[in-house]
């Protein structure tokens, strides 16, 4: 798998260090000519490298001790590890439950919640069965989260993933793999019973490139 499609300033600077670039002005000019979009980062890199190359190694390093330095990094790694485990546990817990079940556990009727958040019961059932192909505006999840008092991560985790068949009986009858029908959120909104205003609202969010989607 290639990860070269989006070259970052860090990638360019890493290559320069690997190549053992001399921090001369001529080399800076050549680097900026090749990557004009990273002009500022390259200027900072070349000047810092020039100063660090010119300065003599200090007999005794200033700043933190080795142990203090290492402890800072260890804390950071363990913190990341803790967050990863938390996120995994959260996702596992939420994915084991359907969205409709989470809403019912809060003492709410899924159909009523659907209407309150500007969707219709059929759209919420499609979310419940993970029938949307592609992205859904984050606003939909946030509204359900707020209305039903469920953490957003739970709503997203329960409503995303492989689509769920309407009837478990289909699996028993089927001789081959079941193809569960899916559609885009846009298709579902256009085919819904929502008012024109609500349709326009959701379609506007879908078209808005700046609006986050999940």
């Amino acid at each position: 798998m290639s990860r070269m499609d989006q070259t970052t300033a860090d990638d360019v600077i890493l290559d320069l260090i690997v190549e053992g670039v001399e921090p001369t002005h001529a080399n800076l000019a050549a680097a900026i000519a090749e990557y004009p979009q990273f002009r500022e980062e390259l200027e900072e890199f070349f000047t810092t490298l020039a100063v660090q190359t010119a300065l003599a190694v200090q007999p005794e390093a200033a700043g933190a001790t080795v142990e203090h330095f290492a402890n800072i990094g260890v804390s950071r790694v363990l913190e990341h590890n803790f967050q990863m485990r938390q996120a995994f546990a959260l996702q596992s817990a939420a994915q084991s439950k359907r969205l409709s079940r989470l809403i019912q556990e809060r003492g709410r009727d899924p159909d009523e919640v659907a209407v309150k958040v500007g969707l219709d019961p059929n759209l919420l059932r499609k979310l419940d069965r993970r029938r949307f192909r592609g992205d859904v505006p984050r606003e939909a999840y946030d509204r359900i989260s707020l209305e039903a008092q469920i953490p957003p991560a739970y709503v997203i985790a329960s409503a995303t993933g492989p689509p769920i068949s309407s009837s478990p009986g289909n699996f028993r009858k089927a001789k081959g793999p079941i193809q569960v029908g899916t559609e885009t959120f846009e298709e579902a909104i256009r085919g819904s019973t929502l008012s024109d205003d609500l349709k326009a609202f959701w379609l506007g969010l879908i078209a808005d490139k700046d609006h986050p989607k999940v």
Binding site: M1, S2, R3, M4, T8, D10, D11, I13, L14, D15, I17, V18, E22, P23, T24, H25, A26, L28, A29, I32, A33, P36, R39, E43, E44, F45, F46, T47, T48, L49, A50, V51, Q52, A54, L55, A56, V57, Q58, A61, A62, G63, A64, V66, E67, F69, A70, N71, I72, G73, V74, S75, R76, V77, L78, E79, H80, N81, M84, R85
Partner: protein, 264 residues
């Protein structure tokens, strides 16, 4: 260190580590050093609690840390990370010279945190994967990034180094001339490379003066009128060429004083 060549046969490949996923600038797949692959294979044949007691290369430690992270083994994860950072610290020191204690510590904290982020990065990037190929290069990159212009204040500087034999005064005097002769620059660079002029750079009290001196005298930055789109010294500091000449002269004077003072 040279990476393994793609012509190696599969039989020679030690079992164990999953291949890296990124590619180099020229499109070559990232590959670990052969010795790192061998160390990883060796580790996988050991009981995991024994890993922390062994001596591993930085790159091997990176791989083992990531594996322990995925398996939620916090005890071994912590010990391996400690070993990695202890080995990483000298690289940070070598690339964060010239700052006072507080600024140096600030740089070190930034680098330690960033290394922690890269070690545990969920989606690999070229930089995070290069840690398994040549960790020292990545540590150098992170340290240089943490010591940039807008980062630490660089307000405090270490004092002038003493000169035991005064051999380099002539080089400092030569730099005091405004001679744009490339040979003069070459001499300065040679003096720097041989441990000469740079022992007086610490005598320059203003970090901007010191940086301007290094850029102009050692790395040929023009005061003004550089190639289009490429910063000159005037661009970098937003100052007139006259002002920067004054900086350079002040820097030279401070270095000269340090050199002559060491002689007497």
């Amino acid at each position: 260190m040279s990476p393994r060549t793609p012509t190696q046969s599969q039989e020679e490949e030690p079992p164990g580590a999953a291949p890296l996923t990124c590619v180099s600038k020229t499109g070559e797949p990232y590959t670990r050093h052969r010795e790192v692959e061998a160390q990883i294979a060796e580790a996988l044949n050991l009981p995991i609690p024994d890993w922390a007691a062994r001596e591993w290369r930085l790159e091997t430690l990176v791989h083992l840390i990531r594996q322990r992270g995925r398996d939620n083994d916090q005890a071994v994860l912590g010990k391996l990370t400690m070993a990695f950072l202890e080995k990483a610290k000298p690289v940070v020191d070598r690339n964060s010279k010239g700052f006072g204690v507080a600024d140096t510590e600030e740089v070190q904290i930034k680098v330690a945190d960033k290394l922690g982020d890269l070690l545990m990065q969920a989606v690999p990037s070229r930089t995070s994967e290069y840690l398994e190929i040549d960790a020292a290069t990545v540590i150098k990159q992170l340290t240089l990034a943490a010591t940039g212009k807008s980062r630490p204040k660089a307000s405090a500087f270490s004092t002038t180094n003493s000169d035991e034999d005064g051999k380099y005064t002539a080089t400092v005097d030569r730099l005091a001339s405004e001679d744009p002769d490339p040979a003069a620059h070459l001499l300065a660079q040679e003096a720097a490379a041989s441990g000469g002029v740079w022992r007086y750079l610490d005598a320059i009290t203003d970090p901007r003066h010191r940086e301007a001196f290094i850029l102009m005298k050692l790395y040929n930055w023009p005061l003004k009128n550089g190639p289009p789109g490429v910063p000159t010294l005037c661009d970098r500091y937003g100052m007139s060429d006259r002002q920067i000449r004054n900086w350079i002269n002040e820097a030279i004077e401070q270095m000269r004083e340090a050199a002559h003072g060491a002689e007497s």
